[in-house]
Amino acid sequence: MSRARPRIGSAVVMTLYLLFLMLPIYWLTNMSLKTNAEILSTFTLWPNDLTFANYRTILTDPSWYMGYVNSLIYVVMNTVISIAAALPAAYAFSRYRFLGDKHLFFWLLTNRMAPPAVFALPFFQLYSSVGLFDTHIAVALAHCLFNVPLAVWILEGFMRGVPKEIDETAYIDGYSFGRFFLRIFMPLIASGIGVAAFFCFMFSWVELLLSRTLTSVDAKPIAATMTRTVSASGLDWGVLAAAGVLTILPGALVIWFVRNYIAKGFALGRV
Amino acid sequence: MAKITLDNLAHSYLANPKGPEDYALQQLDHDWADGEAYALLGASGCGKSTLLNIISGLLRPSQGRILFDGVDVTDAPTAARNIAQVFQFPVVYDTMTVRENLAFPLRNRGADPAYIAERVASIAAMIGMEATLDRKARGLTADAKQKISLGRGMVREDVNALLFDEPLTVIDPQMKWELRTQLKSLHHDFGHTMIYVTHDQTEALTFADKVVVMHEGRVVQIGTPEALFETPAHTFVGYFIGSPGMNLLPAEIEGTTARVPGGTVQLGAAYPGLQGKVEIGVRPEYARLLPDDGSGAGLPARIRRVEDVGRHKIVRAEIDGPSGPLPVNVVAPEGAGVGLDQTRLHFDPARINVYADDWRVEGAAA
């Protein structure tokens, strides 16, 4: 019964798996640091002719870097709207029973299951008709389709873990609902709010179909900028790779900040 | 069943302990006899769980050895030690039936099915779960689950030792009493070496042959319940065992007389050569309050409060100390009257213990 052996086995498994995860990302990074000539002419495992020109192209050209700004704007807007709307609803689901609550909860979840492809065209028409086409708020609202149900679901899970006695004590102490919610309840589920915000950020950031359909110039997300520039300029692999690397960075930063909550967060408060 | 020897054992959770304060478990040298039931008693954080984990093999001590029947098992993993353990909260295999849970330790060791069936039946009878044997463990109440854990711990007959880590915390009081009695009779019948960790003195005193009292990482006394009561080796034992705990009064001792605040007290023995902080300790059971008979015997005292706890009364009194009143507790036996005229406090000289720097000093013949 040696204790060391299984640990070595685990280390091998994890190393192989992380290698599998990192290799494609490494390859992208590798390409982003090469010149197009090197990419196309020789096959090298690391840049022979290290260059930051691809990044310079992106960071100096507004049509590129505004894509990042646009993406970040609508992602943040969506996160704020989703959480703000989901908080009271999640509280209602976790604390009260009311007419049709179970059906309503499932119906909300069904929106998380709705394929964006189904909604792309109607969204386009809806937002065009109300004059919101190509605005950040349009994308932010469209992403609420799947983020609000998710936020309600996650927050409800966390709120269920807070004993009801806390609410009752606060009301006995003369707190109004609003003051109780802001001062006492929200701090208690702060980690849940963080997790829900993380997921909203994540799903809004990675989505392309809706954000591409609902924007053309002013609010065009970076992901869409990438696809269009590629088709136009043909084979500028270096810039494409650099743009790709830059889209990974915000996610990596967010993960770094929430790394200690990831495990619990992924369990959606239900463990 | 085995004798457990703790040889020069100590443990620190720090990598490089500097002084004694860094040790969760101070150096320890003891033989725990084969087939005895021990209780490890102490407040939380006193190191009793650390000691248990070292015995069960979950922790490797930072120094010293642990031997089962003279065989060094310090580096042996838990599975090789052939022990059984019952944890503070129920550990059951939720997806198995009660029967499968009880059979699990035997089945894993490849025991004969007929033998397994027989053991499971007798354990089920003991924990009173024959009726629920074929139910899934998931969905049972916390006490039922804990009973399964107890049963799984006892199902093997050949274990070196049975360890209990505060196993009755989640059991309701009525059931607690019953289970403890069953454990005790089981110990009589099979003679396992048992180690029972608890912070509840009643549990410790009723269960164990020997109680090991721990305080701040140190074993302060190992003794029978009677010894802990009559001659606590450390002021902590006096305070921790008994309810209320032992009365302690600062004293200066000359010959067989102790000068304490308010007067002098006659002792049963002489204590020459005392050093450090000297105190006398008297159990409330050996103190009496009597009316002043004018002879000047006893210490002047005032009654503050009387608590009637059923069989006897606890009198909360106080005497005047150098810096404010000192509380003294007296247990008035059943039927004895308590009145405000009882202003003199008397101690039974033979039952007074003397402590220097918190450790008990044996008296010399007077």
Binding site: R97, T110, A114, M226, W237, T247 | V91, P105
Partner: protein, 292 residues
């Protein structure tokens, strides 16, 4: 669950969500329903078409083929990602700096925009400039995901495994983290085998979160669009044209609004049906857990 108080005013708290979702889900869905029963010759002139589109769609091979490919895809990736994710979760370090590193690196693919995931694999698999493609070509394997059916499917599946296995692993890991040490110690004392520890301790504790993982993976794989679209564009031929890709082709490419709308509704219904089954199983399991 049963200690909730009945309070119809709770509807007020749900109102903002209802308004938001009504705007972003109900109105568009009504549009879809509307289209599905109308026909148009352009110029925004519509006339009722009854259930014609539904009948036409059900009679044609197009949707059935896409549905078949979709079911096959979802089944394959679930069959790979769930066991693999559980296996990875079991091998993750329990605590310490190394655990944080694993968590961060594993989450990374989850936060990459989906078209970038596609781009990464598009590049990675290219025979001329991609590490994977070039290596396979070097080994003498004929690999070209734009031409060959098997290569295209393999690429799309490996990409999805790369992208999403970590989600299953992280959920499983969260489940494992909630198992107190005493269980493992008890198992050691009982001399349980590694398999028994997994079967009787770890799997039951993970089952709840694994249901969430399977539900999420099913829903998302069933809606997959961007990644395969970027890599294979639905090809070669229609070999990797999954439901969403086909739908977008129909709606935005050919502007066949009626059939596309009918397609959408049936697509949505299939997802709803399966998810409802999952959800019901999950809540029953939750309720059973809660009864302890």
């Amino acid at each position: 669950m049963n200690d909730k108080t009945v309070n119809q005013k709770a509807w007020l708290l749900v109102l903002p969500v209802l308004a938001l979702v009504a705007f972003s889900a109900v109105i568009p869905l009504m549009t879809v329903v509307n289209y599905s029963v109308q026909d148009t010759f352009g110029n925004n002139q519509f006339f009722p078409a009854g259930l014609e589109w539904f009948e036409e769609l059900l009679a044609s091979d197009r949707m059935w083929n896409a549905l078949g490919r979709q079911v096959a895809f979802s089944a394959i990736i679930l069959a790979i990602e769930v066991p693999l994710g559980v296996f990875i979760a079991l091998n993750m370090p329990k605590r310490g700096a190394w655990a944080s590193v694993c968590l961060v690196l594993m989450s990374l693919p989850l936060l990459i925009p989906w078209n970038v995931v596609g781009t990464i694999w598009q590049i990675f698999g290219r025979v001329d400039i991609g590490l994977l493609g070039a290596t396979l070509a070097e080994l003498g394997i004929d690999y070209n995901y734009t031409q060959d059916f098997y290569a295209a499917w393999a690429t799309v599946i490996v990409m999805d495994v790369w992208h999403w296995t970590s989600l299953v692993a992280l959920l499983g890991y969260a489940g494992l983290q909630s198992i107190p040490d005493a269980y493992y110690q008890a198992a050691k004392i009982d001399q349980a085998s590694r398999w028994a520890v997994f079967r009787y301790i770890e799997l039951p504790k993970m089952s709840g979160v694994l249901m969430i993982a399977i539900l999420l993976r099913f829903m998302d794989s069933f809606m997959i669009y961007t990644e395969p679209f970027v890599v294979t564009g639905g090809g070669p031929g229609n070999d990797t044209t999954f439901l969403s890709i086909d739908l977008v082709k129909m709606a935005l490419g050919q502007f066949d609004l009626g059939p596309a709308a009918a397609f959408s509704l049936m697509y949505f219904l299939v997802i709803l049906l399966v998810s409802w089954v999952f959800y019901t199983v999950m809540t029953t399991m939750d309720a059973r857990e809660g009864r302890k």
